[in-house]
């Protein structure tokens, strides 16, 4: 499995973990508020918090992944050749990280899939509201559909890389 596939798997796992944490926090907690505006405000704050958490988690996990990947390459080089050269490891990583035209095409294709899914989620949320659904669920449907769209984007990317 190549560097990019491993990186995509890491992104997917992070996305799933953040979404699961959001669902647990959002649906698991009971709110003592009665005013609709206050409930919506509370929900909006929760969503903003989790957007921040998601961004920070993604950055931290990508950095950790990069460090662990470098260590794994160093160990593999040590076992194979008997010595571990820093410049050699840097060169190997630079060759793996290079983004070419195929990566850009795969990115565009997977982004399209993600956006379509998020768009369907957004329209579904509006339909939900038209059918006298709760505004809190509208927010949840939008947030979850965007998160699932991002996860689906990762799976699409994996599919195109493995094809």
């Amino acid at each position: 499995m190549a560097y990019k596939e491993k990186k995509t798997i890491t992104t997917i796992v992070t996305g799933i973990a953040v979404l699961a944490a959001y669902c647990y926090y959002s649906f698991g907690s009971t709110i003592a508020l009665t005013d609709t505006d206050a409930i919506l405000q509370h929900q909006a704050i929760t969503m903003l918090k989790f957007i921040g958490i998601g961004i920070v988690a993604m950055i931290v996990i990508q950095i950790l992944f990069h460090i662990l990947y470098s260590i794994s390459l160093a160990i593999a080089s040590q076992i194979k050749t008997g010595n571990c050269n820093d410049k050699e490891i840097e060169k190997m990583i630079a060759l793996e990280v290079v983004e070419d035209e195929r990566d850009k095409i795969i990115e565009l294709k997977s982004l399209r899939v993600g956006f379509v899914f998020a768009g369907i989620g957004f329209v579904s949320a509006l339909v939900w509201l038209v059918m006298d659904g709760s505004a809190i669920y509208l927010l949840n449907i939008i947030f979850i559909s965007f998160s699932l769209g991002s996860i689906l984007e990762g799976f699409t990317r994996l599919y195109y890389y493995s094809r």
Binding site: A2, K4, L95, V98, E99, D100, E101, R102
Partner: protein, 77 residues
């Protein structure tokens, strides 16, 4: 009637004649990842014209010596 185009390549053959050049070496020469070279060689990905020229340049041959194009007409449509 639809026309289906097939692009085939002789990258493996040219790598062999270039002192068994590795896919990694070709990737370095053309500025792409090894995975892209693998995909092109296996016919799973058609490179851009620029990359096709770079690959041919890496082997020091003309582009039509590496890539060939065939147009097949589908009579069913």
């Amino acid at each position: 009637m639809k026309n289906k185009c097939t692009i085939t390549n002789k990258i493996r053959e040219h790598r062999f004649f270039a002192s068994e050049m590795t896919q990694q070496q070709l990737a370095e020469k053309t500025g792409v990842s090894r995975q892209t070279i693998i995909a092109i060689e296996a016919g799973k990905y058609s490179p851009s014209l620029e990359l096709a020229f770079k690959i041919a340049y890496a082997f020091d041959v003309k582009i039509d010596q590496v890539f060939s194009f065939q147009m097949e007409s589908d009579q069913n449509d």
